[in-house]
């Protein structure tokens, strides 16, 4: 540990999986001193109305995000390629969640 004193705890992003949900969904952020505390705080802040069955927390610093400047180059090229949707297949009833 460095001797530097931080006056604010680092920020964490919280993801919760709902009972009937299949994936973790970003629900918000919080401050905590470490990962364990972040998990406790996430439980206290984001699952108190019976919302979730699983929680992920990740340091906000560790999230690498695309920037607004990249919007054109990143996302515009896929805007006219409708053929990438596999809409020509009939999906059997026995295949869920598609």
């Amino acid at each position: 540990m460095s001797g530097e004193i931080r006056h604010e705890w680092p920020l964490f992003e919280v993801f919760v999986r709902a009972k009937r949900g299949l994936n973790h969904v970003h629900v918000g952020s919080l401050r905590a001193a470490d990962h364990e505390m972040a998990l406790h705080h996430a439980r206290d802040l984001y699952t108190r109305r019976n919302e979730g069955v699983s929680i992920w927390v990740v340091r906000s610093d560790d999230v690498v995000a695309s920037g607004p400047d990249d919007k054109e180059a990143f996302f515009a090229p896929s805007g006219d390629k409708v053929y990438r949707h596999p809409t020509y297949y009939a999906i059997p009833d026995s295949v869920p969640h598609i």
Partner: protein, 295 residues
């Protein structure tokens, strides 16, 4: 969908995934028979439910007093959640006390219209916290003790007490973990936090023995398989506390922190400090100023 019953309204059976509000709420007493076993002394049962209910009610109120005063927003909500869990336990227990007593007193009457001398909580519950370290030390001891108690209460011959015990175990397990985590963090932290955590641990020590001293009603009901004899909980609770103190690099609390505010006598007999009177003034003020008020 009926909105007459809050549980029914929230327990949706359709597939509408409004997950943001949570679903699948359950009434902890659903399907639990409420008849009191015929051989159980009703007034003893009522008094016992008051003891456990008052512990939760008064501890809950102390925790609520931390709202707007906690060191961090996240911890404020954590403490409030714990207070709400305990308030829920106390509502079930006071309601059961009223049923067993059979004198027409409901949970509100019992919470709002009794004087300090009629409260049966242990004094640990009413104790004011000097700082956050005092809060987590007190919460650790309270939760470790109550968890051991509720765990055994889940085997009670009274079906309602058994259900309350089973529900409470899951809640109090988290309370204990939350408090232990903070005791370790502060104890094994800086010199300042270590010193304050040590004095907080010392300060709860004088309140510890009372937790394991059986009242005669507890002994009678324990013999009948209804209540828990608190003296049987000590080894388990001591083992938990010792482990936490040790992990937190604290020396086991000693007499150096002996508290001069202690009144003589025991909370289970209705003997309390001035601190309970203060709590009740706040807790009962509105209900007494506006009897029967509803809004």
């Amino acid at each position: 969908m009926s909105f007459d019953d809050a549980y029914q309204a929230l327990t949706d059976h359709d597939d509408d995934a409004r997950w943001a509000y949570g679903t699948g709420f359950a009434d902890p007493l659903a399907g639990v028979p409420t008849a009191i076993p015929p051989d159980v002394a009703r007034l003893d049962l009522a008094a016992y439910c008051l003891m456990l209910g008052d512990d939760a009610l008064i501890m809950s109120h102390r925790l609520q007093q931390w709202v707007t005063r906690a060191p961090e927003l996240e911890d404020e909500l954590a403490v409030a959640n714990i207070g709400l869990d305990l308030l829920g336990q106390s509502r079930l227990l006071l309601s059961r006390a009223g049923e067993a007593e059979g004198a027409g007193r409901d949970e509100d009457t019992l919470a709002y219209l009794r004087d300090a001398g009629e409260f049966r909580n242990v004094r640990l519950a009413e104790r004011a916290d000097d700082d956050f370290a005092h809060l987590v030390a007190r919460l650790l001891v309270f939760a470790a003790w109550r968890l051991a108690l509720l765990d055994r209460l889940a085997g009670s011959r009274d079906p309602v007490l058994a259900a309350i015990g089973a529900k409470g175990v899951k809640e109090v397990t988290y309370h204990r973990e939350y408090a232990a985590q903070w005791v370790v963090r502060l104890g094994d932290g800086t010199d300042v936090s270590h010193g304050r955590m040590q004095s907080a641990a010392d300060a709860v020590l004088p309140l510890l023995d009372e937790l394991f001293r059986p009242h005669e009603i507890e002994s009678r009901l324990a013999a009948a398989g209804v209540a828990v004899d608190p003296s049987t909980l000590r080894p388990e609770v001591d083992a938990v506390l010792d482990e936490v103190w040790q992990t937190a690099t604290l020396r086991p609390p000693g007499a150096e922190g002996a508290d001069e505010r202690e009144p003589a006598g025991f909370g289970r007999d209705g003997v309390h400090g001035a601190e309970l009177v203060e709590i009740l003034a706040e807790l009962q003020g509105l209900a007494r100023a506006m009897p029967g008020g509803a809004w």
